[in-house]
């Protein structure tokens, strides 16, 4: 599914002439990969280290000097931090029609260069759901780590089907015994 975004066909400013624009038929996952590459290339070495280690990075607001943690994501993924590095509240503002990496880069640049302006449009929440959501997502897409784990996962449905079949078979046989007198 292609996310909505600037229409390159209709907008001459976005045409491909003299550019290295991406080929047609681009899909969401390729867009996300390119956006992640762009984000990483614009991070400072320290931010890059943080992002590689824990999929979030910290920025300093241009007007207040407050610290924010931008977590990989696009909904209430910005944590405003206190002096101890603890979350005070979560913020949400986004760039529409672009991949997550682009959203996070836009958030970084906005907070680092025009913090007050972007805070004026941001929505606020008492806390972020990022830490609660992310592990669940990771668990859902986690690949089996060992052969035993893989076999147990693959075997579980098969065992369930065999048990069901056995129960049905027993029920049929006992039904036959009931109907046919000895």
């Amino acid at each position: 599914v292609e996310p909505p975004g600037p229409n390159r066909e209709a907008d001459p400013a976005l045409d491909d002439v003299g550019t290295t624009a991406r080929p047609k038929g681009h899909n969401y996952w390729m867009a996300e990969r390119h956006a992640q590459e762009l984000l990483c290339s614009w991070l400072s070495p320290e931010q890059r280290r943080q992002y590689d280690a824990r999929r979030n990075f910290e920025v300093v607001g241009s007007d207040t000097g407050k610290r924010y943690r931008i977590c990989k994501g696009s909904v209430f993924n910005i944590q405003e931090l206190d002096t101890e590095g603890q979350q005070v509240r979560a913020l949400c503002f986004t760039a529409e029609g672009v991949a997550t990496g682009d959203v996070n880069l836009a958030q970084k640049i906005a907070l680092e260069t025009f913090e007050s302006k972007v805070l004026a449009i941001a929505n606020r929440s008492s806390g972020t759901t990022w830490h609660e959501i992310e592990p669940q997502i990771e668990q859902r897409v986690e690949e089996p780590r060992s052969l035993l784990q893989w076999i147990s996962r693959a075997a579980a449905p098969a065992i369930a089907y065999c048990l069901m079949a056995a129960i049905v078979l027993v029920a049929i046989i006992s039904g036959i015994h009931t109907l046919v007198p000895a």
Binding site: R8, A13, L14, M30, R33, R48, F93, I109, A122
Partner: protein
């Protein structure tokens, strides 16, 4: 001597689109300036990449910027 190419990067649904221009070529610079005006006029924010992960917002076209990023209009989520 090899010409120094500057890049305008536009965030879009493909991740980004890149437009290169030769800062020493007047026609190429004029096209880049025109693109800058069209994009910022359409609501994009232009940011120039500085060293060490820093950036600066551009209010007008800077032909000396090696890398300019165009960010779609931001809105509260």
């Amino acid at each position: 001597m090899e010409a120094k190419m500057a890049t305008q990067i536009v965030m879009d649904q493909t991740g980004d689109s890149r437009h290169q221009f030769d800062a020493a070529d007047a026609r190429s610079v004029a096209e880049a300036e025109e693109r800058f005006k069209m994009l910022t006029g359409a609501g994009f924010t232009a940011a120039k990449r500085l060293a060490e992960g820093k950036s600066e917002i551009l209010r007008s076209f800077d032909p000396t910027a090696e890398e300019t990023l165009f960010i779609p209009r931001l809105k509260g989520g």
